[in-house]
């Protein structure tokens, strides 16, 4: 009795085997986790928004979009950096696309709008993307809103002490934009600098100022030992250009959005004065840390030929840090989002992760990151100006390690409340 196998039987058999192989994980696997991504792909922040999705996509590909035995479906939406548009998109993600978690948004006003929306939800979680307004978590926090990235005030930690103690400068001129983000940054600088004993002269200019010549003339004549510049985008470029043209030669200290590749790659006289400039922030181009080097390496391999930057942007890194928080918590609870995500949110709150920069991250009682901040200097490396980290302030919390009640009593940062409070002698 010879056994003959016909072609049909072989085909049927192999098809059956293949079917079984395909079907078996499908039985083992539960329904996918739906992760909504919200960033800004329109308007002035679009390049940062694109980069944030690049980094998220790269990290999801790396784990084969699977965590805790469940697949992750990533559903992308985009806003134009306006609060009510971000809110409309978030509502669509939650109610129409039925996502479990939102990763986003990118900018401050959007973050505050989504925090308020998250408060009205049950069994859903919003984890910040890269928005950096302090009030999102500092005042009226929402139990459903988590932030593994640091805020604009935290980004200046360590800078004030460095200027006073290591650079031995007793008085500075602060030239800053007259709106929320620079207020937060100036506040962060002043808290440390004035407590150490430094004196500050402020020179405010409205958003969109192009002519700083009068202010720069005053600054150059003043007794200030250094200039702290906290302007963003084109304002920053205009200030730096005019400062260079005026022959300004005081040391420069910059806010987090000044020491940035968009500024450094623009041509003009400002590049001369920017080399050697000191700044603070959550990332740098060059950080002496194996985690960061490996992350930059992967990023370049994946994206350099597809429109990526030389090194990941601040938005890309912040989104990735927050994604790490989500993935860590999902692993902890083995992909279980039941019981209104209670266990998942507990795991988020207790998460201890390492950001792509190598910084350790944990959350405080407001679900806000306590993490490392880098002190950076701009140096010429490989024939181009790069932001190089030379020190890090470890475990910086949202109140810059002053007691919370005392910090909150200072009130919200503003033009009239720049945070310059001398130490009680």
């Amino acid at each position: 009795m010879s056994i003959t196998t016909t072609r049909r039987a072989t085909l049927l058999g192999s098809a059956g085997l293949a079917g079984a192989a395909l079907a078996s994980p499908a039985i083992a696997q539960r329904a996918p986790i739906r992760l909504g991504g919200l960033t800004t792909l329109e308007g002035p922040f679009a390049t940062g928004g694109q980069d944030s999705f690049r980094c998220v996509q790269m990290e999801l590909e790396r784990i084969n979009s699977t965590v805790g035995g469940r697949r992750i479906e990533f559903i992308r939406e985009s806003s134009n950096a306006q609060a009510d548009v971000a809110l409309a998109r978030a509502r669509k993600l939650i109610e129409q696309d039925n996502v479990d978690i939102i990763l986003g948004p990118l900018s401050g006003a959007e973050g505050i709008a989504l925090r308020d929306y998250s408060r009205t939800l049950t069994g859903k979680t919003i984890v910040n993307g890269s928005s950096g307004a302090a009030d999102t978590t500092l005042r009226n926090p929402s139990p459903n809103f988590f932030r593994f990235s640091t805020d604009g005030t935290q980004w200046m930690a360590g800078l004030g002490n460095h200027v006073f103690r290591n650079m031995n400068i007793r008085e500075v001129a602060v030239a800053a934009g007259d709106y929320a983000f620079p207020y937060a940054q100036v506040f962060g600088f002043n808290i440390e600098y004035c407590r150490a004993g430094g004196r500050v002269q402020h020179y405010w200019a409205p958003l969109g100022t192009t002519d700083f010549s009068a202010q720069i003339a005053q600054i150059n004549r003043s007794s200030a030992g250094a200039v702290v510049v906290v302007h963003g985008g084109t304002d920053g470029l205009a200030f730096m250009t005019q400062y260079a043209q005026s022959g300004g030669n005081k040391p420069l200290i910059a806010g987090s959005i000044m020491a940035d590749q968009t500024m450094l790659s623009a041509r003009g006289p400002h590049r001369r004065v920017m080399v050697g400039m000191i700044s603070g922030g959550p990332i740098a181009d060059v950080i002496d840390d194996p985690t960061w080097r490996e992350f930059v390496e992967r990023y370049r391999r994946r994206w350099l030929n597809e429109g990526g930057f030389q090194s990941p942007s601040i938005h890309g890194v912040n989104y990735t840090t927050n994604l790490y928080g989500i993935l860590h918590a999902l692993r902890e609870v083995d992909g279980d989002l039941g019981n209104n995500q209670e266990a998942f949110q507990r795991a988020l709150a207790a998460a201890r992760i390492t950001a792509p920069t190598g910084a350790a991250v944990r959350l405080d009682h407001n679900r806000q990151a306590i993490s490392d901040i880098f002190l950076n200097r701009i140096e010429e490396r490989d024939g181009r100006a790069q932001v190089v980290a030379f020190a890090r302030a470890e475990g910086v919390n949202q109140t810059l390690n002053t007691p919370e009640a005392q910090f909150l009593a200072l009130g919200a940062p503003s033009r009239d409340n720049p945070g310059c409070v001398p130490a009680a002698s």
Binding site: L41, E42, Q50, R76, E77, S78, N80, A81, Q82, A83, D84, V85, L87, A88, R91, K92, E95, Q96, N98, G108, A109, I112, A113, D116, Y117, T120, A133, D135, R139, N140, D178, Y179, A180, F181, Y183, P206, L207, A412, S414, R415
Partner: protein, 330 residues
């Protein structure tokens, strides 16, 4: 006949939520009711304030979203519970009328400033006013909390019904829209409305008849300000607060787009346009590529405007004319 149609439409809108819940899963029905229809009605009201001015007065104003924002900011400044607290202390029963009043006054002011301009110059001056107010609220911290705006305007509870509930929100919005729509239809048949239409057709003749053209124009802007104010209050509650972006250039132009694609021939066009806009704004990214969804939105609007210069309303009118011509030919 037309009145019957209007009443039937209103009843249909009233019954729509139940219909949605019958055919869609629960959460999606809620989404369609609150965030598609509700949002379309809110912005339809603001677009109607523009349609009213354009249709009956011939004034295309780009200040309507800004005026709605004035109502929203006033509400947010005075109402208790908003974050940050600017003035606070007022309940919604007081803050909402204050907001609408502020918008009406702003409407009168815009009308007074723009009283001598027409056509493109009117468009430019109203746009300049909007952008001026936008920059002002964006940079002023003391009153408007600058770039972050004022949040947490959650809306009132009506007889134990919470405004955050999509059913309540939808029906309150629908009621407001119907009332304002009826008011506009009544107003344009009144002597004031007739004079307004006279100004649109021939201002000189109207003033020769002894009417004060300037005063009528300013009053029309005041009425439009009142309508936009009602929309602005609802929009602020819908968005749980207000930020400068709400009255930015994008939002300003969106209102114009809604009015134009709906059709400037009749106030109902504002709601049609607003519904089409909302549906495409929400689903373009799903239908088409997520990085390029604005292309689809732009194309749809272009097609509508090219196929029918007077918007969606014009399509209906064209079809009717075509059919009557067919009937006459036979």
């Amino acid at each position: 006949m037309r009145r019957g149609l209007a009443i039937a439409a209103a009843l249909g809108l009233l019954a729509l939520p139940w219909l949605l819940h019958a055919v869609l899963p629960a959460n999606q029905a809620g989404f369609w009711m609150g965030n598609i229809l509700g949002r379309a009605l809110v912005f339809g009201i603001i677009a109607m304030s523009l349609t009213f001015l354009a249709t009956y007065g011939g004034f295309v104003s780009l200040a309507q979203m800004m005026i709605a924002g004035v109502a929203g900011y006033t509400l947010a400044i005075f109402v208790e519970g908003a974050v940050p607290r600017i003035v606070g202390g007022a309940g919604y029963a007081l803050a909402i009328p204050l907001g609408v009043l502020a918008a009406t006054l702003m409407g009168l002011l815009v009308g007074a400033i723009a009283v001598r301009t027409r056509d493109i110059y009117l468009l430019m001056i109203t746009l300049a006013l909007s952008m001026g107010v936008f920059r002002f609220v964006e940079t002023n911290i003391t009153w408007f909390n600058g770039y972050e705006g004022i949040r947490n305007v959650v809306g009132p509870s009506l007889w134990g019904l919470d405004f955050r509930n999509p059913w309540v929100f939808y029906h309150v919005t629908l009621g407001t829209a119907v009332l304002l729509f009826a008011a506009v239809m009544y107003l344009v048949r009144s002597p004031f409305g007739l004079v307004l239409q006279g100004i649109r057709d021939n201002p000189r003749r109207v003033s020769a008849l002894g009417y004060n053209v300037a005063l009528h124009r300013i009053a029309a802007f005041g009425v439009a300000g009142f309508i936009a104010g009602c929309g602005g209050v609802l929009a602020t509650i819908y968005n749980i607060g207000i930020s400068p972006g709400t009255i930015g250039l994008g939002a300003t132009v969106n209102v114009l787009i809604m009015a134009v694609i709906g059709g400037l021939g009749h106030p109902v066009g504002a709601f049609l346009g607003s519904l089409i806009f909302t549906v495409f704004d929400t689903f373009a990214a799903t239908i088409y590529d997520r990085d390029r969804f604005n292309t689809l939105i732009g194309l749809v609007f272009l097609v509508i405007v090219l196929a029918s210069p007077d918007g969606v309303l014009g399509v209906g009118a064209r079809l009717r004319r075509l059919l009557t011509r067919r009937a006459a030919d036979k």
